[in-house]
Structure formats: structure tokens, C-alpha cells
């Protein structure tokens, strides 16, 4: 969606969220690119990719550094959340209510309305600040990061963990790490990409997570309930921000190649999985 001249822009993601998300993208790509070749070791592309990124043990180091970055992201996120919850006394607002990313009773209504729309029986549902699938994505990412971190540490220090667990716990960790990684990578590279970038009304890139800005038109179209709520409360204009063309251009330059890499890797993974089964 090209930004028209007189279009009004509103801030959807603060700088903190954008920087965290960028850090997450970098570390996630590093982890996937250095991890997936191991899971698909029989394939030629896996050998090629692993050698391209430095082979053993360099890829192992990259994987661990990127894991550290993921921890940093998680730490920043939890510090941010607990800061809001503890200091400002606004905890209730982000843990529960329209602004919260936690699942709400309202989401059941939203899902039903969405199914109705998808099947052609109703209008497009009027979502609020967080659409239910965005909540799923957020919560599954949180859960996934915990699983990856615990199992990843077990693979990193197998002899240390064997003080408490038998050796086969590391094998369970490996299986969980591998398939959780395949699940997460395939999910982010297909479903998350489709939801955020590849739907007909926003292809090729939704810049919201990079520039932090959404146009009023977009907001009204995608999240009419939030738009109306803010308008009626009279605080919509406090979210108003000037356009930032450099950032917008930059985000396209960064995001399009990343999207392509992700999609390519997923098609390789899926085709290898299918070829494996045959």
C-alpha cells in the first residue's frame, strides 16, 4: 500500500518493539539457516548451505551466538512487560482487555465471525488492536522459544545435563528441538508471512513492523473496532506521526530478500520432507 501524500499515519509499534522485532528476525534467520541443514543432512542443498555458512564448527558458533540474541530479545521483552506491570500499575491493561495480546472471551466471537466471513456468510469481522491469529502467533512464539531454549541448552551441554537426566533425555531434546524448529520455521515463513505480507491487499511488504506506522485507511479496514474506539475516546490524533520515507524504503529493501529466502528455504524443506516419505 503506497502511502499517498495527504494520508494520515498512526503509530502502531513503538521503537522498542520494532528494534526487538528486527533483532528477532536476524537471530531467527541465523538459527534457521545454521540449524536446518543438520535436520535435512541427506539433501544436497543442506550440504551446500552448511558449507556456505562456514561448515562445522563455524555454523555451530553462529547458531549459539544467534541463540544468545534470542535470549536477549526474550529478556528485553520480559523486562519491558514486567516494568509496565509493576511500576506503572497498568498491568491489567496489557494482561487483560482490548489492548492485551492475551486471549480474551472476545476472541471466540471473533473466530466465529471470521469463519462466517471466510465461508461467505457475513461481512469481514471488525477486529480490535490484536487479531486472534496474531495472539496465537505471539503465544506460540513465546512457548516455542522456551522449548527451543531448554532443549538447545541440553544439546549444548549434554554432559552437564546428564548429572540430572539419563543420556536419552538429550535424544528427546534433539527430537523436540528438531521438530519444533521445523514447525516454527515453516510457520513463520508461510503462515506469518501470508498474514502479514502476502495477502492481496498488502503484498509484497507490510511495513508496519518496520516503520511502526499504519495509515488511517488501513487501520479502518483491518481493525475498525480499534479505530472507532480510539476515535470515540478522542485520542486517535495522539497516535498521529509524520511519514518516514527513508525508513519505508529501507524496510522494503530489507524485507523483500528476507521474505524470498524464507519462502525458498520452506519450499526446499517441504519438498525434502515429501521426497523422504516417497
Amino acid at each position: 500500500m503506497a502511502t499517498k501524500k495527504e494520508e494520515k499515519l498512526y503509530l502502531r509499534f513503538t521503537l522498542f518493539h520494532r528494534v526487538s522485532h528486527l533483532l528477532l528476525i536476524i537471530s531467527f534467520f541465523g538459527l534457521v539457516l545454521t540449524g536446518m541443514p543438520l535436520a535435512f543432512q541427506g539433501q544436497d542443498w543442506a550440504r551446500w548451505l552448511y558449507a556456505l555458512l562456514g561448515g562445522y564448527p563455524t555454523c555451530g558458533y553462529i547458531h549459539r551466538i544467534c541463540a544468545g540474541m534470542t535470549f536477549l530479545c526474550a529478556f528485553l521483552h520480559f523486562a519491558y512487560v514486567s516494568n509496565i506491570v509493576l511500576r506503572k500499575g497498568e498491568g491489567a491493561k496489557i494482561m487483560w482487555g482490548v489492548e492485551s495480546i492475551m486471549l480474551q472471551p472476545r476472541d471466540v466471537v471473533d473466530i466465529l465471525a471470521d469463519v462466517k466471513w471466510l465461508l461467505g456468510f457475513g461481512p469481514r469481522p471488525a477486529f480490535d488492536r490484536w487479531i486472534y491469529w496474531e495472539k496465537f502467533e505471539y503465544l506460540s512464539l513465546m512457548w516455542g522459544t522456551i522449548v527451543m531454549a531448554v532443549t538447545g541448552f541440553m544439546l549444548w551441554f549434554p554432559t552437564t545435563f546428564s548429572i540430572a537426566f539419563p543420556g536419552w533425555a538429550m535424544d528427546i531434546a534433539l527430537v523436540a528441538h528438531r521438530y519444533e524448529a521445523i514447525l516454527a520455521a515453516a510457520f513463520v515463513f508461510t503462515i506469518h508471512f501470508i498474514h502479514t505480507h502476502l495477502l492481496p491487499d498488502r503484498i509484497p511488504v507490510d511495513e508496519a513492523m518496520f516503520t511502526g506506522r499504519v495509515s488511517g485507511e488501513e487501520l479502518q479496514h483491518e481493525r475498525p473496532t480499534q479505530y472507532k474506539r480510539l476515535l470515540e475516546a478522542g485520542i486517535l490524533e495522539t497516535y498521529r506521526v509524520p511519514p518516514n520515507r527513508t525508513l519505508s524504503l529501507l524496510s522494503k529493501i530489507v524485507a523483500v530478500p528476507l521474505l524470498l529466502i524464507g519462502l525458498m528455504l520452506t519450499s526446499l524443506m517441504v519438498s525434502s520432507l515429501i521426497l523422504d516419505l516417497i
Binding site: P37, L38, A39, Q41, G42, A46, R47, Y50, A51, G55, Y56, P57, W117, L118, L119, G120, P123, R124, A126, W133, L155, P158, T159, T160, S162, I163, F165, P166, G167, W168, M170, D171, I172, L174, V175, A176, Y179, E180, I182, L183, A186, F187, T190, I191, I194, H195, L199, P200, D201, Q220, H221, P224
Partner: protein, 324 residues
């Protein structure tokens, strides 16, 4: 044990006495330098590729007679301080200068030089198994040269830590133990080896099972048997203990055999066996993830597809979908 010891002594005596003997008898043999052979074998106009029957296995191969001296100097024998020359191995050519007969005796690795580690292979129980099953598996036991082959020729025997040799060993073992190779490759050890990294820090088959003397894991004397397994893993995993080695070296959750065994145990109501085998837990986790992956992608996949079409439909109608 006595035989080994005597064989070793004999070998040492030979190594010292033979050259002495030859040098006294005219000094000709010592003067037979590599250069004498390289005059032809280093010159592509004088030698070429010829078909050659591998006398020990009966295979016919087209082999280049060109010798890469550099590669030889980097092989186990080239690097050795003993300063091997060509005729140390091609013994039927000692004393022969210039042209020579086409068909030579195959090089004998064992008799004069390597009876020591050689016997541990040739007399081990594993070779016995191989010979028993030779007809069934249609594969003869590998010769010394097949396992210790170099990148271009059997002449270029790599040292035992050479990554190429270590990869070759994996391939040799996999030729007869396909299912164990597949399960090995579902673990990090095998995954890294399969990506082409066979350095000494990544376990290949023989790091765990041994190269020449290979025993069943139930045998206490085996490298992966009760007595030695901690020591075996400690080569790379410092601090490995009795608990650590309960690792599953060959996870079978992708192999049909496991599911057949499981069905059988279920039929026999042998729940204890199922519960005590850690392979069952691995299988459960694997199946659980297959379920989660299947469910997630059917649900969100259909959702995304439907959404895609609905948005296009709304756009064609010229609406924003909310009825405006």
C-alpha cells in the same frame, strides 16, 4: 598373544636385517630410488590408464598408472620416518630397472609389515560374521586396502585421523549395516558426518565400535560394552559418566522395525518392555510433533487460502468487506 609378539619381533628383525643384507650384496637395491620409477610413472606420455583386475576381489577397474608423488608423500607411508620407496611395497620389482612386467603381485600389507594390527582384523569375530553372511549379503569382507584407500589410489593410504579415511570407514560399514547408518544419521554425530564433516572431533562408526576388533554391544569387552563405553565417550565428551552413556546411539523412531516390534509387544501385553525402552519415549515425542505439525498446517493453511480468496472477492465487488 605369543604369536603376535613373535610376529612383531620377526617383523622388526626383517626391517633391519633385510636392508642390511641388500646393502651388503652390492648396494644396488638401496640405490633404487623413487626417481627410477617416477621417470615413467610421473610422465603422462609414458604411462596411461589401463584396465586392471583387482586380484583380491575380482573387480575390473580402469586405473591410471600415473603416480602423484606429492599425494604419496602426504599419505601415511610418505609421511613415515621410515622413508619408504616404491619397491618396499611393490616387492616383485626390487632389483628391476626400466621396463617391467605388466601384471605384478598385489601389494601385501600384512605379512611383512602390518601383521600387528592386521591380525586383530583378520582374526576378529566380525570377519567371521562377514564370511558367514557373505552369500546372503552378497558382499565379501572388505580388504585392508578397501578400508584404507586413498582419495585417488590405494597407494595413498591416509593416516588414521584423515577425514577422508574416517568418511570412507562410515561408507564401508554402511554398505552392510544400512539400517544402522540411517539411525546414526538421526543423531548429531551422524548428521554432522553426513554433511561431510568427518574430522576426529565427530564420532564415526569406528570411534564407538572400533576399527578392527568389533564386538557386540552386549559383550563387556566391546568398546560400547558396559566396561569401556564411558571411556569411549570420554574421548570427546569430557565428564561422561555411567548416566550419560544411556544415550540412544541408534534411534529407531523413523524405522518400520520399531513399530513392528511395538505391535508385537502390545499383542503380548508386554507393557513393561515398552515402558523400559527409551526408544518408546522418543517415538512418542516424534509422533506428537507430527500430529502438531499436521494439525497446525491444515488449520492455518486452509485459513490463509480462504482468506486470500475472500479478500480478492471483496476487492472485486469494490467493497472493503465491512459492507461499505
Amino acid at each position: 598373544m605369543h604369536i603376535k609378539k613373535w610376529a612383531g619381533i620377526c617383523r622388526n628383525v626383517m626391517l633391519w636385517v633385510l636392508p642390511l643384507f641388500f646393502s651388503l650384496s652390492g648396494g644396488q637395491v638401496l640405490a633404487q630410488e623413487m626417481e627410477d620409477c617416477m621417470e615413467c610413472h610421473g610422465d603422462s606420455t609414458k604411462v596411461s590408464k589401463v584396465p586392471r583386475i583387482e586380484r583380491e576381489t575380482g573387480e575390473v577397474k580402469v586405473v591410471s598408472m600415473l603416480v602423484d608423488k606429492d599425494a604419496f608423500m602426504h599419505s601415511a607411508h610418505g609421511l613415515s620416518k621410515e622413508g619408504f620407496t616404491c619397491t618396499d611395497c611393490h616387492q616383485d620389482l626390487s632389483g628391476v630397472y626400466g621396463e617391467h612386467a605388466a601384471l605384478l603381485q598385489p601389494v601385501d600389507c600384512v605379512t611383512f609389515c602390518h601383521d600387528d594390527p592386521g591380525a586383530s582384523y583378520l582374526e576378529g569375530s566380525h570377519v567371521g560374521h562377514m564370511k558367514e553372511k557373505e552369500k546372503e549379503k552378497k558382499r565379501a569382507p572388505p580388504t585392508c586396502k578397501e578400508c584404507h584407500i586413498g582419495q585417488n589410489s590405494m597407494r595413498e593410504t591416509p593416516v588414521k585421523d584423515d577425514p577422508f579415511h574416517r568418511g570412507q570407514i562410515n561408507q564401508m560399514c554402511s554398505g552392510c549395516h544400512e539400517e544402522y547408518k540411517l539411525t546414526y544419521c538421526t543423531n548429531l554425530h551422524g548428521q554432522l558426518a553426513s554433511l561431510g564433516y568427518c574430522n576426529t572431533d565427530i564420532a564415526n562408526c569406528s570411534d564407538c565400535h572400533g576399527g578392527h576388533e568389533i564386538l557386540k554391544s552386549e559383550d563387556p569387552a566391546s568398546q560400547v560394552g558396559k566396561k569401556h563405553i564411558v571411556e569411549t565417550c570420554n574421548k570427546c565428551h569430557k565428564g561422561a559418566d555411567q548416566k550419560f552413556v544411556k544415550h540412544i546411539a541408534h534411534p529407531k523412531f523413523k524405522r518400520p522395525e520399531l513399530y513392528k516390534d511395538l505391535l508385537k509387544a502390545l499383542k503380548d501385553r508386554d507393557l513393561k518392555k515398552i515402558a523400559s525402552d527409551p526408544q518408546s519415549y522418543l517415538m512418542l515425542i516424534f509422533l506428537m510433533y507430527m500430529g502438531i505439525i499436521g494439525f497446525t498446517f491444515t488449520a492455518f493453511g486452509t485459513h490463509s487460502l480462504l482468506m486470500w480468496f475472500r479478500i480478492l472477492q471483496d476487492e472485486r465487488k469494490g467493497e472493503d468487506g465491512h459492507g461499505h
